[in-house]
């Protein structure tokens, strides 16, 4: 096992030096694709999740609906998509959105649903409309949990975006990752390493965004916890 591992490290290193350019280009495309999918998932999932959390009703239908779509392997979704919207960016994006959606939707629901009822009651008592309560009170006070969904979704999408190679959308790291025959395990792992870095860096960026979005008052309240 040790020997295998050592050999692998050499393989990965070699691959980087020889194919670094290509990996970078593919990495960029992977980022674009992932960002697109996560953005769409946010645009769809966040409002639905938040709304359902706000009214404390219909959660099972919304969350389960989003969830159940994922039950099929992403590859099957791609295959099914061929017959509906064909190959290309649309196909892989739909598959990735289906992957990311439940994460964002469910967490948005749980987050908003769990906002302190006293706070919400105060907001209602002030005559805020449902929408205003949601946007000005509920969402700002549950940023961490909402963002937990987004961050996990990002990692999931980056990690799965290699399936683009099966959707007629080439140029991502998937071209290497699915082709162990041509690139070898070293090449696959090198491309995987790039994906891991993208996932982690994106994750850090999102953590930064979370910190910016989390109101200071919430952090103070949390820090008031004695240790």
């Amino acid at each position: 096992m040790h020997v295998i591992a050592a050999g692998l490290v050499v393989d990965i290193g070699t691959f980087f030096t020889q194919q670094g350019r290509m990996l970078v280009a593919e990495g960029v495309k992977q980022i674009e694709l992932s960002a697109l999918a996560v953005a769409i998932a946010i645009v769809i999932g966040l409002p639905i999740g938040a709304m359902v959390g706000h009214i404390h009703k219909l959660s099972f239908i919304a969350v389960n609906g989003g969830n159940v779509l994922r039950a099929l392997p992403t590859l099957s979704i791609i295959a099914i998509g061929i017959g509906i919207y064909g190959f290309g960016l649309v196909n892989i994006t739909v598959a990735l959105v289906i992957l990311a959606l439940p994460l964002i939707l469910t967490n948005a629901f749980v987050a908003v649903d769990g906002v302190d009822p006293g706070t919400v009651k105060a907001a209602q008592g002030m005559g805020m409309t449902g929408r205003q309560i949601l946007l000005r009170v509920e969402l700002p006070s549950c940023v961490p949990l909402v963002m937990a969904g987004v961050r996990t979704a990002w990692v999931y999408v980056v990690a799965t975006a290699y399936l683009a190679a099966f959707s007629g959308y080439s140029g991502t790291l998937g071209d290497v990752i699915v082709d162990i025959g041509s690139f070898g395990l070293g090449g696959v792992l090198a491309a995987t390493a790039v994906a891991v870095v993208i996932a982690l860096v994106g994750e850090l960026v999102l953590a930064g965004a979370e910190r910016l979005l989390t109101p200071r008052g919430l952090k103070l309240a949390a820090n008031a916890n004695p240790g």
Binding site: G118, A122, M126, G127, G217
Partner: protein
């Protein structure tokens, strides 16, 4: 906003005219899963522009009553009319905007600064920035907090400070109706008395219709033009002026509630000014204690009873002497008052 017959709030003019009457008609609320109703057949009318204090036992349904008015919970039975229009058919958002609500749990928004908390409704109504800023400082001042608190967060405030922000927030747009659930419950006597005075001063200018929950019977006497006493199970025990309650409690429960020393409490309702008479002999006496003409008879009694002086000198705020009051005169004044209305 144009007058719209289908919108009870617009129709009742809550937003335009500042005085509205609140009428409870057999209002009843039963929480799901609970056998006994929290509020039973509550019927009474709070005239427009009046502060009605709501007192009653813990768990007696005061908070429930408040939340029925602004529809944070829905009536099980009966109705509540605001300016003649039923809350049942009101647009809840409109209704609540017209009502300032100070909730018992304070419920500040933890993610907003103090200024942000106070400015919530002005922002909703789209006030210009400068006006909001000014209003925030004005309100901080009103609730006796330094403007340096504007930038802090709720977690950095003491309990009483938070409560005062809750009050400021509810007052921000000067709503014609106020529901105040123990707004001063966490305040020390000095701050509390200052805020009571501020609020009464405000009320003199803008006659709001107010429902004010308190546990402090002295506060109810001071603040309430009317007092509604609830008993266990949300049943109305008595509704009337403070003097009614103190002088004629309908039963032992109410008598107990207003306190064994209710006789002394009643003294709080009258001022030294009302019973003072000129007394030329005062000039000769050097050691007579002085008391403001606006002090209550209770404070006068305290002075007289606990010093060796035979009389107190009553002075205007500018220092001019109005006259003197002796213990016997005080007692006589009280007795005369009692005889005219037949209280015990």
């Amino acid at each position: 906003m144009t007058h719209d017959e289908t919108d009870p709030i617009a129709a009742s003019g809550v937003r335009r005219q500042s005085q509205v009457e609140i009428e409870f008609r057999n209002a009843t609320k039963r929480y799901p899963g609970q056998e006994a109703p929290a509020i039973s057949n509550l019927s009474f009318t709070i005239p427009a522009g009046v502060i009605c204090c709501l007192v009653g036992p813990s768990g007696g349904g005061k908070t429930t009553t408040m939340m029925l008015v602004n529809r944070l919970i829905d009536l099980t039975d009966g109705d509540i009319l605001i300016g003649g229009a039923s809350v049942r058919s009101a647009n809840t958002t409109e209704l609540r905007r017209a009502i300032g609500y100070v909730i018992q749990q304070i419920g500040l928004f933890p993610h907003m600064t103090i200024a942000g908390n106070i400015a919530v409704v002005p922002k909703l109504l789209g006030w210009p920035r400068a006006r909001i800023r000014e209003r925030v400082l004005e309100l901080l001042n009103l609730v006796q907090l330094d403007r340096s608190y504007a930038g802090r967060y709720p977690a950095q405030l003491s309990g009483g400070q938070q409560q005062r922000i809750g009050l400021a927030r509810a007052l921000a747009v000067d709503p014609p109706l106020m529901l105040m659930d123990e707004p001063f419950g966490a305040l020390d006597p000095i701050t509390r008395s200052a805020l009571q005075d501020e609020f009464l001063k405000l009320q003199e200018r803008i006659n709001k219709t107010v429902i004010f929950v308190t546990h402090d019977i002295d506060e109810a006497i001071k603040m309430g033009d009317r007092i509604a006493v609830l008993r266990e199970g949300g049943i109305l025990a008595q509704f009337g002026t403070a003097d009614d309650l103190l002088a004629h409690p309908v039963d032992d429960y109410v008598a107990d509630f207003v306190g064994a020393d209710r006789g002394l409490k009643r003294l709080s309702l009258r001022r030294m000014r009302d019973i003072v008479h000129p007394d030329p002999s005062l000039e000769a006496k050097p050691n007579v204690p002085t008391i403001s003409a606006d002090a209550s008879l209770r404070v006068g009694l305290s002075r007289l009873f606990t010093t060796d002086a035979s009389a107190v000198r009553v002075t205007e705020n500018d220092g001019t002497t109005l006259g003197a009051v002796t213990l016997d005169e005080l007692r006589e004044a009280v007795a005369a008052h009692r005889r005219t209305d037949g209280a015990p």
